[in-house]
């Protein structure tokens, strides 16, 4: 009898836990969010401690605990942390936030849970534009960013134009197919260029699979203005975007302007994806996995989803980056490979759900 009671209690706990996870009615979203922030802090610390090189966690820990003194007695650890791992962590944070938010926004605006910047050809548009720019002799970081952002915007508009065609807009999977075709086309074109141009190929080879390595903190500075603009627009657009989830007509009835909102959201997505792509290359699936988890924790409202993307994006990117340094020591796997390994199963899980949730 007692065991029966226990089992009963267990199952009701499970039911409530699942209800919390899937209905979006977490008993305290604020507490969940706080836990995620703590988790992010831990992962950030780990990313400073572990690396592919000679500086192991023990030396890194000693150097971190008294960073100024480390400059004297362990200058190698001081250098590795200050000049390599710290900038890399910073870039991981920025890229994670940018891709997570961009994915959530793109999914809200297309009302399609599969709309991921990488899958829809937004990143490919960005990468193609950068390839062209390098081919034509550009290499200044600032130029590369604006070029990547313009390319992202082009990719976005192409695939959304395809989505407006009869039938595709209503079917999440067909939109992804349209995006995959665009991605494939742009990748082939990029490869074609690389085949004929050795300099561009060298410049771009590592970049094109996505990586946080070999970047330094100054790479981030040119990104700041466009990221600040994207952040401001996101804050302003969150409310009307939430209303758009109720349908175009309801949103108009509430005094919003869906067309303007949609266009501005696309601009924000292009700024974020273009910026992240310029700095880390096309990192796939982060824009799918992060909003997927954020929605499971936060429920359907895009405003809460965006809040949860803030810690979840960097958690995914920075932990993927740590893994990428450790699996094939002393060399490294590109980050894009790891995120694809995490992302593909999530994509399959989303598609396999009998009814795709309409956003």
């Amino acid at each position: 009898m007692a065991s029966f009671m226990n089992r009963h209690a267990d199952s009701s706990v499970m039911v409530r836990l699942r209800a919390c996870l899937w209905s979006g009615k977490s008993p305290s979203p604020v507490a969940t969010w706080g836990l995620l922030m703590i988790l992010l802090a831990v992962i950030a610390l780990l990313s400073l401690l572990f690396g592919a090189g000679a500086v192991g966690p023990d030396r890194a820990w000693l150097a971190l605990s008294d960073f100024d003194a480390a400059a004297m007695h362990d200058s190698e650890a001081h250098f590795v942390i200050g000049e390599l791992r710290l900038p890399r962590l910073g870039i991981g944070l920025v890229v994670g936030i940018a891709l997570g938010i961009a994915g959530a926004l793109l999914q809200a605006v297309t009302r399609n849970p599969l709309a991921e910047p990488g899958l829809l050809g937004v990143s490919a548009g960005s990468a193609f534009a950068v390839t062209l720019a390098i081919l034509w002799g550009a290499d200044a970081a600032t130029l590369r960013i604006s070029v990547a952002q313009l390319g992202a915007l082009g990719g976005c508009l192409c695939v959304l134009a395809a989505a407006r065609l009869q039938g595709i807009g209503n079917d999440p999977v067909r939109l992804i197919l349209a995006g995959a075709i665009l991605s494939g086309l742009l990748h082939s074109l990029s490869s074609l260029i690389l085949l004929f141009d050795q300099y561009t190929a060298d410049e771009i080879r590592f970049w094109v699979v996505g990586s946080l390595a070999g970047r330094d903190a100054t790479d981030l500075m040119p990104l700041a203005p466009s990221l600040a603009l994207a952040a401001l627009l996101t804050v302003i657009l969150a409310r009307p975007l939430a209303a758009l989830a109720l349908g175009e007509h309801v949103a108009i009835g509430l005094g919003h302007h869906p067309r303007i909102v949609r266009f501005l959201v696309i601009v924000v997505v292009a700024l974020l994806v273009g910026g992240a792509t310029a700095i880390a290359g096309p990192v796939a699936f982060v824009g799918l996995v992060v909003p997927f988890a954020a929605r499971a924790l936060a429920g359907p409202d895009i405003r809460r989803t965006l809040w949860f993307c803030l810690p979840l994006g960097p958690i995914v990117v920075v932990s993927a980056d740590i893994v990428s340094r450790l699996v094939v020591q002393p060399s490294e796997l590109p980050l894009g490979v790891i995120t694809a390994l995490i992302g593909a199963p999530v994509l399959i899980a989303v598609v396999r759900r009998r009814r795709l949730p309409m956003l």
Partner: protein
């Protein structure tokens, strides 16, 4: 509850909205649906727009709620062209409930109703005590207070429609435009929604609804507008407007009209297809 049970309180003339159309022409793409329509809707009453499929009644409602931009003419709200009123301002005066709206999965009733406060909020002026009071009042009026934390998609059809109407109530507009608020509901849920609409009018709101159910329109509307091929065939109180001849011209059916002994509303009986009236000769 019978109609007599509602306390009918006509809104005073200063605050009641005045909705009219002036030479209104509406089209979808290049297909004109309505041409040069002149219309004035009574304030503080329930107006039902009826007519056969494709007669332009939903188009008219789209024009009145600015979903559709007129080709010519204007929709006037208190004398001002609604195309010239800033949309947030308009949303404080005119609420719209489209046909069969869809709520995102797991959105709760309270969350849905809170959206109604959007026109009153801004980026700087977020959620306030005033907003909360309005939401609570809307839930109270629609009898959904106890269901506030339930997901909208877990409700019955009638409750769901009441939740959407609650959202429109929270907008605190003088006018409510409803596109077929009862068309997907069974009889019990229809009556639930109709009675809510009556109680809103009793509280002073002007309601305009497009509706398929002619019997329901006769029973619950104060004012009836019968449309056919973009034209208004008849308008006025249902008891004076609905005739067997009108029903034949609208729908191509013959019927016997009697007066409902309980409510005094016209009642259609013995409805059958008219054999000798060809399509198009109705106008």
């Amino acid at each position: 509850m019978t109609q007599e049970a509602f306390v009918y309180a006509p809104a005073d003339d200063d605050s009641a909205p005045d909705i009219a159309t002036q030479g209104l022409s509406l089209a979808y793409g290049n297909v004109p649906v309505i041409e040069g329509l002149e219309l004035r809707l009574p304030a503080g009453q329930v107006t039902a727009i009826v007519g056969p499929n494709g007669c332009g009644k939903s188009t008219l409602l789209s024009g009145m709620s600015r979903l559709l931009k007129p080709r010519a003419g204007a929709v006037l709200l208190d004398g001002a062209d609604i195309q010239r009123v800033p949309s947030r301002e308009l949303a404080k005066r005119l609420a719209l409930l489209p046909q069969q709206p869809h709520a995102p999965e797991a959105l709760t009733v309270a969350e849905l109703v809170r959206f109604g406060r959007h026109p009153h909020q801004s980026w700087l002026r977020q959620w306030s005590a005033d907003d909360k009071a309005c939401v609570d009042e809307a839930l109270e009026l629609t009898g959904l207070t106890t269901l506030a934390e339930r997901p909208v998609d877990a409700l019955s059809g009638g409750q769901r429609q009441r939740a959407w109407i609650a959202m429109a109530i929270a907008q605190q507009t003088a006018t409510l435009l409803l596109d077929e608020p009862t068309s997907a509901l069974d009889l019990g849920h229809q009556v639930e929604v109709y009675e809510l609409i009556r109680s809103l009018t009793a509280a002073g709101k002007t309601i305009v609804m497009v509706i398929h159910d002619l019997v329901g329109a006769c029973r619950y509307a104060d004012h009836l507008i019968a449309m056919h091929q973009g034209q208004i065939l008849a308008e006025g109180p249902p008891g004076e407007t609905v005739t067997a001849d009108l029903v034949r011209r609208l729908y191509g059916v013959d019927c016997t009209l009697i007066t409902d002994p309980a409510t005094g509303a016209p009642l259609l009986t013995n409805v059958r297809r008219t054999r000798d009236v060809l399509d198009g000769s109705a106008t």
